[in-house]
Structures are given as C-alpha cells and as structure tokens.
Amino acid sequence: MTAPDTVAPEAMFDQAVVSAAAEVEDTMRAELLSLIGREAAVVAAAPAGAGKSYFVSGTAGLLRREGLRVALVAPTNEQVRSLVARVKQLNPDLPVAFLHAQGRGLPPDIAALPGVSQPTAAEAQRNRDPLVIATVDKLADAFLRYGLGGFDVLVVDEAFQADAARYYAAANVAATHLLVGDTGQLDPFSPIDDAAYWRGGAEDPLQTAVGVLLRNHPSTAVHRIPITWRLAPAAVPIAKCFYPGHVFSAAVRPGVRRLTLVRPGPGSRSLAAVDRALDEAATQGWAHVTLPGTPVLTADPVTGEVIRDLVVRLLARGARARCEDRDPAENLRPTDIAVGVSHNDEKDLLRTLLGDAGLSGVTVDTANRLQGLTFEVMVAWHPLAGSPDIDAFHLDPGRLCVLLTRHRQACIVVGRDTDRALLEGIPPATPGYLGWDPDPVLDGWDAHEGVFRLLEPHVIPA
C-alpha cells in the first residue's frame, strides 16, 4: 500500500492512544498535587519516546503555577541541558536556575533564553530560586555543601537510570517526589568487580531510584504511560521486546512518516548492498546489515567502514523525511542521524571515519550517552557484532533497547551473520539473589532473540 502524499492533521495521530495517554498524565498530575507536603511519590513508567520530557517540563510549569518550589533533576549533563530547553519551550515566562559543575554550563543558545540563569549553589540557596534544574549529583552536592533545599517537589527524570546512592544524596531536598523514567533503558552500572555485592538487599546502592522507593514504599502508585510519540508503528513490535507486560502503541498512524531516497544512479554497483539496506530501512523502518561472520576486535574497522558508508550514502541519495512535524518533506541533515555503539573505542573509530568524510555533525555515541535523545535515522552497531562469546555487558537488554528506540523514521542495525548463533543453545547459568527478581542476562537473552527474529525479514547481507 502506498502512503498518501499528504495527510490531514487530525488523521496523523491515533486519537484513542493519545487520549489514553493524556488521561494517565492527568491522573498523575492530580495525584501529585494531592500529595504535596507529604513524604510520598508518584512514579511514571514509560516506554521509549513516550514524551517524558514534555510531561516532566509541563508538570514543572504546572507546579510553579501552583506556587510550588520545584527541583528538576536527571542523571546526566546532556539530559538536564535539554530539560532546560524543554521547560523554556513549554513555559517561556518561567524563570529557570540551572546549577552546573565547573565547565558544564549551558550551550550559549539555551543560556541566552530569557529567564534562564546559571547561579552558583550558594546563590541559588540565597535567592531561593523557585525552579532549579541540575543533575542529581549537582543538586546533591548543593544540598550537602550549601543546604540548598526546602523545595516542595523533587522531579526526577530518567529515574530508572539514576541509582539509589545518588538518589539518597538528593532525596532530602523535597518531601514529595515525582519519578519519571523509561523501564527499558540501561540500569545503573558500576565498574567495580563485585557490583552485585549488595544485590537483593534494601541497601543496594545500584538499584534504581524507582527500585529503592518501591522497595521501601510498595504502595506508591506506578502509572504506565501507554504511548510512544517517537516510534513509528513499524518500530513498536521490536520495541516491545524490551517492555514485557507494558501495553503501549505509537501515537502516529502508519504512513504519516516517510523517508524517501533518490534512486541509485549508474555506477552504483559497488554500493549495491548499502543501497539495498537503505531502501529496506526507508520503506520498512528497519534494516539488518550482516557482514560475514568472523570473530573481530571490539572496534572492528570493517564494521566501522560499513557504518560510515551507510551514513554517507544515506545523505548522498538525498534522503528526505516527512512526518507530523515536517510536511512537506525536508532534506535529512547530518544532525538528524546518529550512530549508536557499545564501546568508547567504537565511538572514536566512527567519529574519526565520519569526520574524515566531512560528517562530524552526525552524532556518534555510546548507548548510555544516547539515552533520552531522538534522531530521524539511527545506525546501531549491534552489541554482539562479531563477538566470539556473550557476556552480561553485551547481552544487557537496556543497551540494545537504547540503540533500537532512538529513531523516528528508520533504524539500520549492523552486525555479522553469526551473531544470532550466539543465542542458540542453553542460556548461561546466572546467579540468583534473594529479594531481587530481574535477571539481566536472561532478560537480555530473550530480548536479543526476539529482536533477531523480528529483524529476520529485513536482513541484508553486506
């Protein structure tokens, strides 16, 4: 079926899905307002692209209009910077105080927005700034060092990424909390050898902020947001591999988003496989490019070159994207594209390759740094690509989830044709922990197997 050239605005979104999500968000806000002044919390569990940042930023505006002091935090600097921009976008008149560590200030364009200030922690405490945005660590430091606190509400974005240790340090700034996060993303991580030492215990500092809250206060309401604004309908079945039991649907209707490419011209035979992958991704939303199987180093140069070729060719073929925000279609820019990897050396390799190709505007980063970000097209270096065996790090379902749920139009997964065989046979024995049900290795095994199965129709041998 061919998608129509233009789509009426009211037909772009599935109104039933949108209404259901709005109802959940309204319920959460009402519940939060009813809890003000009490040591209590509301938890929002969301799939990828559920509009968490909009919800958080909108809620911050609502709380401010109620005359409440609000601290808004997230785990990373990138996340809080984009929160500042989003809060100002939704609430242009709202003053925002951004606390940051040395050398981690706002980009000039966001810092120049009216009402945005960047006080020191001591100044923020002295001024009693009514809306403070900071990383969890920075807010905790400001609280411990300068006593910055006395807020009415602490709003934690990406709360499934924040660990209990950091949450401990920041939790005292307000009695009432709103925790919003994506359950499918990477869990808190530590490089120490026995990070599982406390696992299962109430004191585990590496459980998520939501985990420790629910463990101690199991009656806390958890609301599941049933929508994804970012993902197109074709992306949802694969995304669901990472959210077992969570019912959600795409907000946009099929055909609203469209990625078009110029047909390959004469002399393109050497790039036939790349072109086939791009065509598959453009028409189906997915492509799984598989190189011949062989064990390789982590930062395999051949895989890196294939990814570079895909990105270069995507732009060379005049990719144009149409969606609910861009109608008529617009040319894809390098900043609309991201490459997601699992290791820093893969990131360095690709930044260099793309930089040499004049495409330094393409975002290249590890999965944990891409959390919360959105791109039109994503190229994902599969975590198991060319791996001789499997381990907990590469099987982590959160890593694959991040890589496969950043895109609005299409995602191209690059790996090797032996990767799936790693999951044949019996899953590895994994330790069990009293008081701790999740098993990232087995969950990852299941998620990877499900993804490989769903990508099967989209496999393009390189």
Binding site: L144, Y168, G201, E203, V212, P388
Partner: protein, 506 residues
C-alpha cells in the same frame, strides 16, 4: 584486560610451554613474612572450619583441628588458639603508629599492618563467612564464648570485606596474585587451584605447562572445600572419632582420639603450605611498582581504623545501611579507577591493552612548540607537540589524554591526526601553562592514555539519617541471633526416593 592480548599470550604460553609474565612490576605489596592461612571445611558446611593452619610464611604452621566441627564445644576449643594468635598479631601490628598529614589535620596511622596470604579467593570467602559467624556469637546457656573468638571474627570479617578494595594487600589470595601477574593456559575456574597455576610457571623439565598443571591439580588439593575423595576419607575418620568419643567433649577424653583426623589434615595442608611459600618467595623477587606503597598506606589507614574500632568495643552491622553502601560504592569505584590507572601508567606491560583498544597511543615526539591561545580574557601560553606513532591512530579531535610521566597533572587535547607513513602524526596541546616537568623532549618516545592518576575526588559525607525514600515504611522485624538453633538436634535426613516430586512429568 583485552581479549586479543589474552589470546596472544595464551598462544605464546602454549608455544613456549610455560607461563609468561603479564606485568613487568609487582602491583601488590608483599610483606617479608605474611601470615599464611589455609582452611579446610567439611563438604556442605560453609560456616565451619574443619581445620585451620596458620603461621608466618617461611616458617612452620600450627594446625587446629576440631575433630567434630559441628559440636560447638569442640569447635570453639579448636579455634581458640588461632583466634588468640590472630588477635595478638593484629594488635601488635597496630601498636606502633606514625603521624601523617592529611590536609590541615595530622593523623596517626599504624607503621605496618598484618598481611594475610591465603591460597585462593575461595579461602577469602570462607574466612569471611567464619568471621561473620564468630563476630556475632552470643551467650548460650549463660556460657559466653571466648572473647578472642569474637574479636578474631571481627578481624576476619574486616579482612574479607577489605578485599573488595581494588589493589589492596591486607588479605592476598595468591591465585589472584598469580593471575594478575602471569599469563597461563588456565580458565578462570581452573585458576582457583594454586598448584595448577604454579605448575604452569615452573613446570618440571621437559613437561609442557598444560600437562604440568593437569598433574599438579590432580596431585595437590588446595581447599577450602573438599573434593569427594577427600570428603569420603574425612567422613570415615569423623565417624570413627565420633564413635570413639561417645558424645564426650571434654579435652581429656577427646584429645587422644583426634590424631587420625589431625594427620589427615596435616597431609592436606603440607603441600599447600610449601606451595604458598614458593609462590610468595617468587613474587617477592619482582620489583614493586611505585604506587604499591601508597596503596599499602591506604590499607594501613583502614587497618588502623578497624583495630581502634574493635579495641573501643565497636561492633559492625551485619549488613550495610543504605548510607554505608552508597559511600562504600563511591570509595570502591575511586579505588578501582585509580588502581587500573596506576598499573598501566607505571607498567608498560599493563598499558598494552589500552594501546590495543585505542585508549592509549605511543610514539616519538617530533616537535615541541610553545604557542599562545585565546582563553576567556587573555591569551595564554600553551604547548603543542607532534607525536609520530608507528601504528595508525584513530582518535577524534578534542580527545583528552594524559602523558604517563605526568598522569596526575593536566591532560593533553588531541588537535589533529594525519597519516604519516604506516603510522600517524598526532598533534596534541597541553591544557596548562608549560613547565619543564610537563614537557617531553624532541626524540623522546612517550605514551599517552585516557588514564590519569590525579587525587581522588573528595566526596562529602552523606546525611546520617536516610531520606524517607530509603527508609522502610514499616520497620523490619528484629532477626534472631545468628547462632539460634545451634543446640537443637538436626532434622532427620530425608530419603529422596520416598518424596513425591510435584514437578515431575506424568
């Protein structure tokens, strides 16, 4: 670690027929005569030591055998000499103190610390469990256990927990010491046998490392958990012992009967003791890395705090509070990062994985030029170097690297990378004003990496009262004493054949 380097070293070990050093320096402090401890448990009795051997390495060992370790009186009586000696050694080591400046404060830390060496990580776990068992003993029937047992329990618990600190050397499992310093053909599981590790390092003449370790593994059992054949012998001797004592536990009646069991464990400990002596003596020959003393100073500090705490009658919680866990995690992460950096920065062999993964570069300095660049207000002095590498370098502009000679100082930022012959020319700029100590010279071969050894970040202590989010809504029930039920008779054995399996297929 690097899978590629491990594969290369394994191939070389296979080719040469003996283990290869994977470091050029020793990264663990080794005392002249650490206290050696060897432990054997009964199969399935994780909290009880059936036999403990201890003594200064280089000398003979003492052996404590309970006979029947499941009998509390026999067990405690056998353990008491070990506990008394351990407590005395700990106190002695902590007696003499030295002043150390910490910021504006002067603090006293022990001049030394008692170092304990055990054959493997499994023994660390066993000592930790023993310590946990002993440290919380309560009175039973109005009879208090010997205070030395409780104090020794606290010490063992402290030592076992301290092994979580990367690079520590208070309690040294020798299998880890060897695995960190030698490349062998053994899998992580096989490395638990110290005899197998040792045999790969010094195989008998004309015997390949693989065959030597297979033979050593079959010949020498290390403990603490007995293999089935050992347990079978133990079970027979234990049955004889119990039958002969007829339920008596008084020393006069029991001591004459314990000889066969003592002989059994003596035979098990003898080869392990020799092995530990050989391993420690060999590793002592390797020069220590410069940072070993600094890490041991941190060990001494922790040791001194522990001894002072125990001497003041302090007790440890059985589990951490959320605050303790959070602060411990920060401390362990700092120690981990610092140890990884120290090893690679000080030891070229440990830098190889970073060179392979692209997190380090090595080359010859082709030029050193001072320039001026615009800072916030003024133009400031900076230095550019051109580094010619033998291998092609893949690093994006802006990547920050530390020169190994100044890894605790400011980084260098990658400015540009261009091909040069088979390698690359990397231009780097120092992110600080140049001083002679900060600059390499033209022609010098240097290494830069992502690793740095600056002072650890200062973390503010967390609030002592946990926030409501980290407190249970309802307080948990108090646990029963850890030795509750010890005096009760064990339940009757279950005959598996007589029990219906609810999950079986019909």
């Amino acid at each position: 670690m690097s899978a590629a380097l491990d594969a290369f070293l394994a191939a070389r070990v296979y080719e040469t027929g003996r283990a290869l050093r994977r470091t050029s320096l020793r990264h663990t402090y080794l005392a002249d005569e650490p206290l050696g401890v060897v432990m054997w448990r009964l199969g399935g009795e994780r909290f009880r030591a059936a036999a403990i051997a201890w003594g200064s390495l280089g000398g003979p060992f003492r052996l404590a055998v309970a006979g029947e370790p499941r009998n509390r009186d026999l067990y405690f009586r056998a353990l008491t000499p070990f506990a008394v000696d351990l407590c005395a050694r700990v106190r002695r080591a902590a007696t003499q103190k030295v002043a150390r400046q910490n910021g504006r404060q002067q603090e006293l830390i022990p001049v030394g610390a008692l170092q304990i060496a055990v054959p493997n990580r499994a023994t660390v776990g066993a000592l930790g469990l023993l310590g946990r068992y002993l440290a919380y003993l309560s009175d039973r029937g109005g009879v208090a256990p010997d205070p030395a047992l409780i104090e020794a329990g606290k010490h063992l618990r402290f030592y076992a927990r301290h092994t979580r600190v990367a690079g520590q050397s208070l309690l040294v499992p020798l299998d880890r010491l060897i695995s960190e310093h030698w490349a062998t053909l053994l899998s992580p599981f096989e490395q638990a046998n110290l005899a197998a590790l040792d045999a790969q390092i010094e195989p008998p003449s004309a015997v390949h490392a693989f065959d030597a370790s297979a033979a050593a593994e079959a010949r020498t059992r290390v403990g603490p958990d007995p293999a089935e054949d050992i347990d079978r012998v133990t079970e027979a001797l234990l049955a004889e012992f119990n039958a002969a004592r007829g339920g008596r536990a008084d020393p006069l009646a029991v001591e004459p009967l314990i000889g066969p069991l003592r002989g059994h464990y003596q035979r098990l400990v003898d080869p392990v003791w020799q092995l530990m002596n050989r391993v420690v003596a060999r590793e002592q020959q390797l020069p220590a890395a410069p940072s070993v003393q600094r890490r041991f100073e941190a060990d001494r500090e922790a040791f001194g705090r522990h001894v002072d705490w125990v001497a003041s009658g302090g007790r440890y919680r059985t589990t951490d509070t959320p605050r303790q866990a959070a602060m411990t995690l920060r401390r362990l992460e700092d120690a981990h990062a610092r140890y990884e950096a120290d090893r690679a920065v000080e030891d070229p062999a440990c830098m190889i994985p970073y060179l392979l993964s692209g997190n380090a570069i090595r080359g010859v300095v082709a030029s050193v030029n001072e320039i001026r660049v615009a800072a916030r207000v003024n133009r400031v002095r900076r230095t550019l170097i051109a580094l010619d590498t033998d291998e092609p370098v893949v690093l994006p502009a802006g990547k920050e690297l530390w020169w190994t000679a100044t890894a605790g100082d400011y980084p260098w930022d990658v400015q540009a990378v261009s091909p040069l012959g088979a390698g690359s020319r990397v231009t780097l700029m120092l992110r600080a004003a140049p001083t002679p100590a900060r600059l390499p010279t033209v022609g010098e071969r240097i290494t830069l990496s992502t690793l740095h050894t600056g002072p650890d970040a200062y973390h503010l202590p967390l609030p002592p009262d946990p926030p409501w989010t980290h407190r249970p809504a309802a307080p948990p029930l108090s646990p029963e004493p850890i030795d509750a039920g010890d005096s009760e008779p064990p339940p009757d054995a279950v005959d598996g054949a007589a029990v219906a399996d609810p999950g079986r297929y019909v």
